[in-house]
């Protein structure tokens, strides 16, 4: 190979440190890399592909259970769900591309996660998204007074506009891709905080079904077996996308638009059908999608997993542009491409399938036994690297960790009083209309949530998305959750809550949570404080996943979510999957009819007034209404939480309740309202203050609680289940027609028509997007 003089600037431009460069030379047996090799190393050793900063921590996560068929390390995790079925699922971020180009960034995020699923032989049957944006509601001048705290940063009109367009772009991107591909979107969650203003998060989750004995792996094997390239032609788009996702954003990032790929959902649909059909021939040995780092990543990872080598001739790679260099071909992140290894002699069977679906399918190379990735151009070697050097031998950093305190008071500020409650009906309305709590219909109505005719509970119908499995009694429930603000205040506890709440939502649908996937969104890992947040989050997640018996089967880490040095809240997002033994018994969220008993099921009690004051500072009420953030997230006793979830599953399976809804943002008042919305059946309840402040009783966000409604005659049996799991099941009131009335110690504190509350809740998002933001004076 021609020796190539690599200037130090070039090494730096490739995001490699001098030490890493020396290591590359060592791994290449002492010689320097060619330019193509340098590019290959730079993407494979990027944070995005190598997990070099996170790997040492991720090892602590629990990844096994009797249901786990495939844990982390493959394209997606797989669990056994019974009846001969398995399900593959994973969540992945596409934050950086979505900020640079919201529509295509989000669309290709969906495309990427779908390929991860069908690569394993599973047909995608559901997707969900977890989204984070900066504020979309301008603050009124009176609200601006309390600025200066992270929950109440002042945004310019231009910033609010930008957040609007990011939201619109991301949502249409997701819609356009998923709708055309034909997979139901079961919703997810969307939240707004100032820290996401220049760093939106787009985390896409997908789940697919595969017969237990028909799973495919991304592993190459068999000397001289043909390596086949299928799908879209390679272009210059997305070169160095993985590297872009591994650095902070600056003003120059707008110029990175060419690094964002363009999606073609129709082509992906063809790829899905063709791949699944090709797999049925029995002639496919291994298959992997070309996602981040494209041809490079798929070939060296498939080789490394199978302990074999792969040789590729670039002249044979379908190209959509002329005069592409080996560097460009190897690093392109053009979408909708797959690499597969077929059995020698049976390649025609595979090629015929792709031809039927009108797709390019070309034999570009072969499997070798030398464990190397060898790239040829016109027959001449332009890169030759041991696969291990790119994968297992990639740098692993134990980055420095330094404890960090968020710049907020830990005790309730003196100027805030919880005792003198004002108009609580007005407070409830403000919360229901706040961006984090309000109905997200405007978003999910743009998604096809019903295609494939399996959707039992689509967006807005229950706490979790529920699908049936055709030909089986069983169903699957899934939910996403993450609370960045809580992780900011206490990363370890916040992460525990993310696991607990995602699993609780699944349990509220009557399903037993069995496994999880995680998307870990953080700032710059080279900063010891960020690494501390990360380490704490992993610790919290580990503990919660162990206690709640939901092993992590895969996921994704997204670092460098910073713009101009300003990081996001540490935001782990959990996706939990649960199994419903009988899908016909899936739990509903909405009250069914008037005259039913309302029960508050809870594990644990708030300790004392000091705890209450410090915990209330992390609530939506504190942020939205008091304009301030302080203290800690609520306490979480995992044992009680586990008991609550088991009790929910038992109660719902026993047909004891009409509805079950978890209690979270906005507390019990919001949970009651949300239970009333689907059917517009109201509630009349009486809560006991037990000496605690009224606003806390109504809007406090204590963990491990759910609001149930049932026939009064079932109350005793519900209470028996509660006792078995050391929970309390308190009969707090009745469902009534059309009205929402909450009493505290017998005194009416909230009174409103359900319709009136529903208008606020349903219309808030669209109103915010249509309203010109009130600008701060700058």
């Amino acid at each position: 190979m021609p020796a190539y003089a690599i200037a130090p600037e070039l090494i730096q431009e490739h995001g490699l440190t001098p030490d890493e460069y020396e290591k590359i030379k060592r791994l290449l047996g002492g010689r320097g890399p060619t330019l193509t090799e340098l590019g290959i190393f730079s993407v494979m050793w990027s944070e995005h592909c190598s997990y070099k900063s996170s790997r040492v921590h991720l090892q602590r996560l629990p990844t096994r259970s009797r249901r786990v068929v495939q844990g982390p390390g493959e394209n997606a995790g797989i669990i056994d769900i019974g009846d001969g079925w398995a399900c593959a699922f994973k969540i992945e971020s596409h934050n950086h591309p979505s900020f640079v180009e919201p529509f295509q960034g989000a669309a290709t995020g969906v495309g990427g996660i779908l390929r991860d699923i069908f690569t394993m032989g599973a047909r995608p049957v559901a997707i969900m998204d977890s989204l984070r944006f900066g504020p979309i509601q301008g603050k009124s001048p009176t609200e601006l007074g309390s600025a200066g705290q992270p929950g109440a940063a002042v945004l310019t009109q231009a910033e609010v506009h930008k957040n609007h367009s990011l939201l619109e772009g991301v949502v249409s991107g997701i819609a356009s891709y998923g709708n055309c591909f034909g997979v139901p979107n079961l919703g997810g969650e969307t939240k707004f905080e100032p820290c996401y203003s220049n760093n939106p998060l787009v985390n896409a989750f997908a789940l697919g079904l595969v017969r237990r004995d028909q799973i495919f792996y991304a592993k190459a094997a068999g000397e001289a077996n043909p390596v086949i390239y299928v799908g879209s032609k390679t272009g210059r788009d997305g070169i160095h996308g993985a590297t872009m996702a591994s650095e902070e954003f600056s003003e120059a990032s707008e110029g990175k638009r060419p690094n964002v790929q363009v999606g073609d959902p129709f082509l992906e649909k063809l790829l899905l059908e063709a791949c699944l059909e090709a797999m049925q021939t029995g002639a496919v040995v291994g298959i992997q999608d070309m996602g981040a780092a494209g041809l490079t990543c798929s070939s060296c990872e498939m080789g490394a997993r199978g302990h074999v080598g792969i040789e590729i001739e670039l002249d044979r790679v379908p190209q959509r542009e002329t005069a592409m260099t080996p560097y460009e071909i190897m690093l392109s992140e053009s979408q909708e491409r797959m690499l597969l290894v077929a059995q020698k002699g049976r390649e025609q069977e595979v090629l015929r399938v792709f031809q039927k679906w009108g797709l390019d399918a070309v034999e570009v190379g072969r499997v070798t036994l030398d464990g190397k990735m060898r790239v040829l151009e016109h027959g001449k070697v332009v890169a030759e690297i041991p696969n291990q050097a790119l994968t297992d031998d990639a740098p692993v950093y134990k980055r420095p960790v330094q404890r960090w305190e968020p710049p907020v008071p830990r005790e309730m500020p003196e100027n805030i009083g919880l005792a003198g409650a004002g108009d609580l009906t007005a407070d409830l309305k403000r919360l229901l209309g706040s961006a984090n709590i309000c109905g997200k219909r405007w978003i999910w109505q743009q998604y096809d949530s019903m295609v494939q005719t399996n959707t039992v509970e689509g967006p807005g119908a229950g706490d979790a998305g529920v699908i049936r499995i055709k030909g089986s009694q069983r169903g699957l429930a899934m939910a996403l959750d993450g609370n960045g603000r809580w992780c900011y205040l206490d990363p370890r506890l916040g992460a525990m809550h993310a696991v607990a709440e995602a699993a609780r939502k699944v349990a509220c649908s009557g399903a037993t949570p069995v496994a999880a996937t995680n998307c870990l969104n953080f700032g710059n890992p080279e900063k010891p404080n960020i690494m501390w947040q990360f380490s704490q989050v992993i610790d919290g997640m580990t503990k919660a996943c162990e206690e709640l018996e939901v092993p992590i089967t895969g996921g994704n880490v997204s670092f460098y979510n910073e713009t101009l040095g300003e990081g996001i809240y540490p935001t782990p997002v959990l996706g939990v999957v649960g199994i419903l033994e009988n899908v016909r018994k899936a739990g509903q969220m909405g009250f069914r009819e008037p005259g039913r008993a309302i029960v508050l099921l809870r594990g644990g009690e708030p300790a004392d007034i000091t705890d209450v004051e410090s915990e209330f500072g992390s609530s939506e009420y504190a942020k939205e209404i008091l304009g301030s953030v302080w203290g800690y997230p609520p306490e979480l006793e995992l044992e009680k939480e586990a008991g609550l979830q088991k009790a929910l599953v038992e109660i719902i399976a026993g047909g004891l309740v009409d509805s079950a809804h978890h209690c979270s943002e906005g507390g019990i008042a919001v949970a009651l309202a949300e239970s009333a919305f689907p059917t517009e059946v109201g509630a009349k309840v009486n809560l006991l203050s037990r000496g605690l402040p009224t606003v806390f009783v109504l809007f406090g966000e204590d963990a491990s609680r759910a609001v149930l409604s049932c026939d009064l005659s079932n109350l005793l049996r519900i209470q028996q289940v509660a006792v078995k799991y050391c929970l309390s099941a308190e009969h707090i009131g009745e469902t009534v027609p059309e009205k929402m009335e909450i009493q505290l110690d017998g005194r009416v504190v909230v009174s409103a028509g359900v319709g009136e509350l529903l208008d606020v809740y349903e219309g808030a998002l669209e109103r915010a997007l249509r309203t010109e933001p009130v600008a701060a004076a700058n």
């Binding site: 249409s172 709708n179 055309c180 034909g182 129709f266 649909k269 063809l270 998604y447 096809d448």
Partner: protein
């Protein structure tokens, strides 16, 4: 009774229609590949929803040139039963089996939600199990469902009672609020002059099983099966 469900490469409701016919209506069903002209002696053809050839161009604009649609045209001209759902409706309009066109929704966004449609004509092979004026709850999911035709065509459709479904309130009133996409005259579905071709934007196959929360769409399939038995 044998139903044929067409598969264009970008069809994504093909398997849903097939399932409903086979598992719910208990009729035989077969898939028909877009490149084949052989309709395999089917008694009725379903043109399913989806994105036939990607629909990056006008929806259905390429599908009308497909080999299978040539056969479907002949089949329809000979009085054969053809049901176009969503993208299928768009394709039938492009193929001139039905008049008019489906434009982008007035809200300019994809809309997926349950809607109510009023049965305007129960004397068709697709609605004979319904009552005249009956309101059915059936979901929609589309970006281009805004039906349009010129005045004389609309007058003709009315005169010949070919408007089969109109978007309505749950109580059956035809109001602008009940119209999810801006369709002319709240039109949700129309038939051919011979009544043997129906195009509709709502997805009856998504409302055919109690497990999925609604069964009112199944009446369309019931009607088809019933009418085929008496043909």
């Amino acid at each position: 009774m044998k139903f044929g469900v067409i598969i264009f490469p970008g069809s994504n409701c093909d398997h849903d229609a097939y399932w409903t016919i086979q598992q719910v209506a208990r009729q035989s069903a077969t898939f028909l590949w877009h490149e084949s002209q052989d309709l395999e002696n089917c008694d009725a053809i379903i043109v399913p929803g989806g994105f036939a050839y990607g629909d990056y161009l006008r929806t259905g604009a390429i599908a009308k040139f497909s080999p299978v649609m040539e056969s479907v045209k002949k089949f329809a001209e000979g009085g054969g039963l053809v049901l176009g759902i969503c993208n299928g409706f768009q394709i039938l309009c492009e193929s001139a089996l039905l008049p008019g066109a489906l434009m982008r929704n007035v809200g300019l966004k994809y809309v997926c939600k349950p809607v109510h449609v009023r049965v305007e004509n129960d004397d068709t092979p697709f609605t004979q199990a319904c009552r005249q004026g009956e309101v059915l709850s059936i979901p929609i999911g589309h970006m281009e469902g805004n039906y349009f035709c010129d005045d004389s065509t609309l007058a003709q459709l009315r005169r010949e009672q070919r408007i089969v479904f109109r978007y309505a309130t749950p109580a059956g009133e035809i109001t602008p609020e009940a119209n999810p996409n801006g369709s002319l005259d709240n039109i949700a579905g129309i038939s051919s002059a011979g009544r043997n071709v129906l195009g509709m934007m709502p997805h009856p196959e998504r409302a055919s099983e109690a497990e999925l929360g609604c069964v009112e769409g199944f009446k369309i399939f019931q009607s088809l099966v019933g009418s085929m038995a008496t043909r």
